[in-house]
Assembly symmetry: C2
Homo-oligomer: 315 residues x 2
């Protein structure tokens, strides 16, 4: 599937960091960065641009804050056209500490927003745009917010935001092909001056398939992570996406080597992927938080009781 | 997605048995049978109807042969409407030992065939049909055989075979949504008097998605296995499929309990699922045999070398 407008955004460190509170060491992040850059991914997202005054640096590792000096250490000496992205959470960024794009290794800032917070997202992206950054708005939990509020938010973004890209974020891994098609078409119809992106979660083993479905219906910005690492069930895998795109600009080989060298061992320490409580949360269109709590408990494999609690049925 | 013609066929023991040469013990098979029957699956496939004269009973367990007396032990005392299916390989069945359906616990026999063997498959299904069995033809390795030979085979089946169902079998886990749509429509257009089925493999995490895609375009017979067990990357999972169908005739709960009780431990002993060499084989449209050999070797996690060997490139 070749289309020159397609952009692959690797968010291995950013979304993968949600599994371990962003406690990766610099050498690991450098290894990921080098391999993903060699694969030709257009953007590499290294974490969040949150403020250490608003989130504890004792609890969270450095990729939760993405200090410019830290990112300089990641990219130092690596020749690549891949751009650097970070994510900003509404209410967790100290805007005064963000330097202009010309002084920062960061190229793009993506603001994560629920539909209800879209005013704040528009304001933030416009500030970042004025500072010289490329910007995106990532609309989270989309499977819960498909009503008229979503359409209104999209119209408002189209009219008021300078963001170049607006992402459909299937936070709950709950979309199927038909819902994905519906959303991509709705986004495309309203956002006439912007690109549409897709960030899929893999609760129901549909992250890759929903990404393909989004490409078919016009989305050009595609999120993926190495070996699918990401919160709970994880994400669309970068290796499958590159295998599908069959675009000579991308190369699966550095990613395969990185998985062998780094991710097989990492997966023994950290948990993500097709795990039944996350599948249940996806089927039920629920946030994975209860499933994550279950996996941290001594009932981690008691799936029927978990299902009955979520479904509100009793045994 | 409710459609009354839909039939779910669980092939946990049959396809899952390809992971361990069908060496499950009777108690395990009984547990699977009871839970899957309680879930409302329409058919439960318990193995192959091959001849112990043609395949070694020392190498293979009893579910490779599915003696009627053995199957009687599985179903004994279980009240259910689920029917029993077995698979027959061309050239491996001693037709003289198959009793009439009226004397057997087996309701349906599915003949697995490559396009090149379709004459033999038609002959076999017609003999089984005359003996009173429901019959299917499962066309294997479909991603390699999409040319005019396939169309010719389908016309021949439509005209000469008594089989009620013809399956698309994505043996290599290589189909995407668009190829699946194309095949289901082609099958439906030619096989006007028969139902279309889908048996998907999960090399690229697309087995469930391709099953949904097949439903959308008219396939009514759907294969799945508990927790996706099956050769190499495994199959469409029964739990996700039931979750999607949202048909009150099916119940996910016994399957969740069965996974907790049996499959979490089993997965520690046997390997299937999203494993990079199987993903590579799927991307490359290759049989998983080289990937299975790699996983049995001391180079099991050396993915780049494997890729380069398959791709014919050198480092």
């Amino acid at each position: 599937m070749y289309r020159k407008e397609i952009r692959v955004l690797d968010c291995t460190i950013r979304d993968g960091g949600l599994v371990n509170d962003h406690q990766f060491d610099l050498e690991f992040v450098r290894d990921v960065y080098k391999a993903v850059a060699a694969s030709g991914a257009d953007y590499i997202e290294l974490g969040y641009k949150n403020s250490p005054k608003l989130l504890s640096p004792e609890q969270y590792g450095p990729w939760k804050f993405c200090d410019d000096a830290l990112l300089e250490q990641v990219v130092e000496g690596v020749e690549t056209d891949s751009k650097i992205s970070v994510m900003a959470d509404i209410g967790r960024v100290d805007m005064d500490t963000v330097r202009p794009a010309s002084e920062s290794p960061i190229d793009m800032i993506r603001v994560a927003s629920y539909v209800k917070d879209i005013d704040k997202a528009i304001t933030m992206t416009n500030v970042f745009d004025d500072m010289g950054y490329e910007t995106c708005i990532n609309i989270m939990a989309i499977s819960r917010d498909q009503g008229p509020e979503l359409e209104e938010a999209l119209h408002q973004i189209e009219e008021e935001s300078k963001a170049q890209v607006v992402y459909i974020v299937d936070s709950f891994g709950s979309l199927y092909q038909e819902t994905t098609e519906h959303l991509v078409k709705m986004f495309g119809n309203i956002l006439k001056t912007k690109e549409v992106g897709i960030h899929a979660h893999n609760n129901q083993q549909l992250a890759f398939s929903n990404t393909i479905e989004s490409i078919i219906h016009g989305a050009n910005y595609l999120d993926a992570t190495v070996y699918g690492i990401g919160r709970a069930a994880g994400n669309c895998t970068l290796e499958l996406l590159i295998g599908f795109l069959k675009n000579p600009k991308y190369d699966i080989r550095p990613i395969l080597k990185l998985i062998s060298d780094r991710f097989i061992d990492l997966r023994k320490e950290l948990e993500w992927g097709y795990i039944i409580p996350y599948a249940i949360a996806g089927i039920m269109n629920e946030h994975p938080r209860e499933a994550m709590a279950l996996r941290d408990s001594d009932k981690k494999d008691e799936f029927l009781e978990f299902y009955d609690n979520i479904a509100g049925t009793s045994v």
